[in-house]
Amino acid sequence: MTDLLAPPTTRKDWTSDQEVRWCPGCGDYSILAAVQMLLPDLGVRRENTVFVSGIGCAARFPYYMNTYGMHSIHGRAPAIATGLAVSRPDLDVWVVSGDGDALSIGGNHLIHALRRNVNITILLFNNQIYGLTKGQYSPTSESGKITKSTPFGSLETPFNPVSLALGAECTFVARTHDMDRKHMMEMFRRAHEHQGASLVEIYQNCNVFNDGAFEDILAKDARADNLISLEHGQPIKFGADSQLCVAHDGNGGVRIANSVDVEDAEVIVHDEKAQNPALAFALSRLASGPHTPTPIGVFRSVEMPEYGSQVQAQIDHAKSQKGSGDLEALLSSGPTWTVE
């Protein structure tokens, strides 16, 4: 929550005294930096900021933040954060999770936190691998992936976290990547502003167990043609010379096209505020993995009642109706009789 009276802070204020223990070169560093550089901008207070995580490399994040924090158990951070956010609406509650933590063991808590629209900001560090346990495939690993647990290749279709979140009624969904600090900061800022559950998928390189997973789209010379930057209200064009665009396909869907082949009216205008998540979903399906042109930015951002404040509203309403609880009256609310 933006707090007008919050004293100005610098990145250093948000840095804890614990040594950062990720592998040298890990994408997690730049995400940490983005968060630590953003928070001073947000006008928030350290003491009102909490990072809750599960287990994984990503999940060590809270230790490095000079805020309140909890490094909980594998997959359960969204549930714990929900309890915290509901009971303490005065706090900014962030969840940091990995693709295994959030989408494998924690998938159920994630989708429920999203539909519940509780006011938490979820950063999903997607490196398409289990880092901490040293390199098994994850729910976002591409099919056929050879890892320690799949020496002959993995067999499942990966989740697309954006699609899954939209299918789970998420009111704010965005995607960014660890190579673009500015974009990350913008996405985190937007997610933080959102009242309700927000999910930011961050493509994050694990240079030890899955190096180069996002090379195809994030290599310096690949970005222009492979990152489809979504901007609300703008026609979706991309490529170094905007030579590519996203157009409708005439049967209720969207496709990537050459701008020259398509009339301007047929180019999709991005509408992150559409109540209906269908367009956002369609955009999320443009690429089936980070190898072909892939949208980044805010897919969906709609206002819906936030869970915690509604819980509080019910409490306030009950108090205003019945007065704040009278214990003696409660105990006598059933049939009573007196023995004399």
Partner: protein, 612 residues
Amino acid sequence: MIEDSSVVIRFAGDSGDGMQVAGDRFTNSSAIFGNDLSTFPDFPAEIRAPAGTLPGVSAFQVHISDHDIVTPGDAPDVLVAMNPAALRANLGLLRPGATLIVNSDAFDERNLAKAGYSENPLEGDLRDRFQLFEVPMTTLTIEATKPTGAKPRDAERSKNFFALGLISWMYSRPLGTTLEWIESKFKAKPALVQVNSLAFKAGVNFGETAELFGSPHSVKPAKLPKGKYTSVTGNTALAWGLVAASKLANTPMLLGSYPITPASDILHELSKHKNFGIATIQAEDEIAGIGTAIGAAFGGHIGVTTTSGPGMDLKSEAMGLAVNLELPLIIIDIQRGGPSTGLPTKSEQSDLLMALYGRHGESPVPVIAASSPSDCFNCAIEAVRIAVTCRTPVILLSDGYLANGSEPWLLPQVDSIPAIKVEYASGHNGTDANGEPIFLPYLRDEETLARPWAPPGVPGLEHRIGGLEKENETGNVSYDPANHELMVRLRAEKVERLARDIPPIEVNDPDEASALVLGWGSTYGAITAAVRRLRAQGRSVAQAHLRHLNPFPADLGKVLGNYEKVVIPEMNLGQLSKLIRAEYLVDAIGINQVNGQPFKVHALESAIEPHL
């Protein structure tokens, strides 16, 4: 008027017949009339069985008395059976010569077949063995309610009130209570008020005029301690205890729970009392239930989670986290028949060892257990008190029998319940290497070994906690072997020190017996009754009942040492016995029953007797 000193009545019928309502109303007017009483609702499994079949039978047993009683009674004196299945399922329970009132309308061929009777039992020797009354309740109810214009199919539904009326007459219950209840309950549907009232009155009148039943009986009010009473089930008392604890601690409460029989009613009850500042979350599963409670505890609220056996399994990993976080947390397990899905509506005490050891690693947690429906109120407060004082998860055990059973409860003086002191960390409590003031989240209270409770929001107290082993005092992650050993032992010691605050065991031993009957949990009533009977026969026997299962009261070893024999009745295969044997090397003798039912007093009596 025939005066009885006590009577056990069992209402039995199909799940759809409203027997729980009838029993409940009878209980109620008896309570208000001033009897002591104890009830035992005996549900079928959660799902409805086909009408008229044995699995569909639902019963409610109530024991009313003019003196202090502690169980719903072993063998009913009166059975109301609304159909052949209800008769068949309950006949075996009756004492010889009991009164048997059947709805004769229901004894048609179809229903007899459904109950598995090849012949109509009413035509057999029942009449010789019992005082049998055949009452065409359906017909009489329809008849009586005709004036309202109710369709027979609808009117028929009120036959439980007819039965209630009849029994109310038979035991001279005041009628007003029931009529008022009907009035207020069905306020929204005046037609139902009419039909139900007429059916009830018809039952009363039938008793009065039919000249079938002889004189009505009476059971005088009991001489109970003076004061204001109510009648509560264990689950309601538990919910109220939680509300009270939140109030006593002056701290908001959050319940995170997932529905499960027989614990769901606590969620239902608590969700009504939002005006006490209580938030309830129906979570996506039991793990999220405890997860949200942990989140709330971290936020400085009282985090509670309620469940039954299968849910306890699922919560175990998160409990271990709470042990490591050293945060207050209340975990309530309403035990039911296990293992696995087991017998969801039946009662058992088989989760004790799980409560103590059901987590990986050395993961000690205080465990307490309620011994009667109203004791659930006290135990809820006690659980919160321990959790908050000691910064630890606490497990409170109840069971299906307590959850749904009820008893009169002398309402406590609310003001006289000691407040629960909640102290949050408010400032720095240590210095770093350079002498700068810092906050040490794992600096311990010398007395209790509790660490500070430091919810977010206080500048300068920012800190991170987690499930990895932590350095004592600083709370930083530590892989140091000696520190781990220290922390393992500190966490154990913290729980053990609670024994200092546990009052000495109250041993009831009027005549220096050589055998002690030791119990815990819901068997309190049955054990007490059995002990009374044994004493009435001149046998000397001592009795003690444990509320604290971990740690044990400090004087337990000494007490056990005073007796030649220690007999431990339990509704499991000997779980407390195992703990007592291991701790005190006492050759405890178990009396074990695991059939989903509470102990029968007479069975317990005869099982204890040989050891005296």
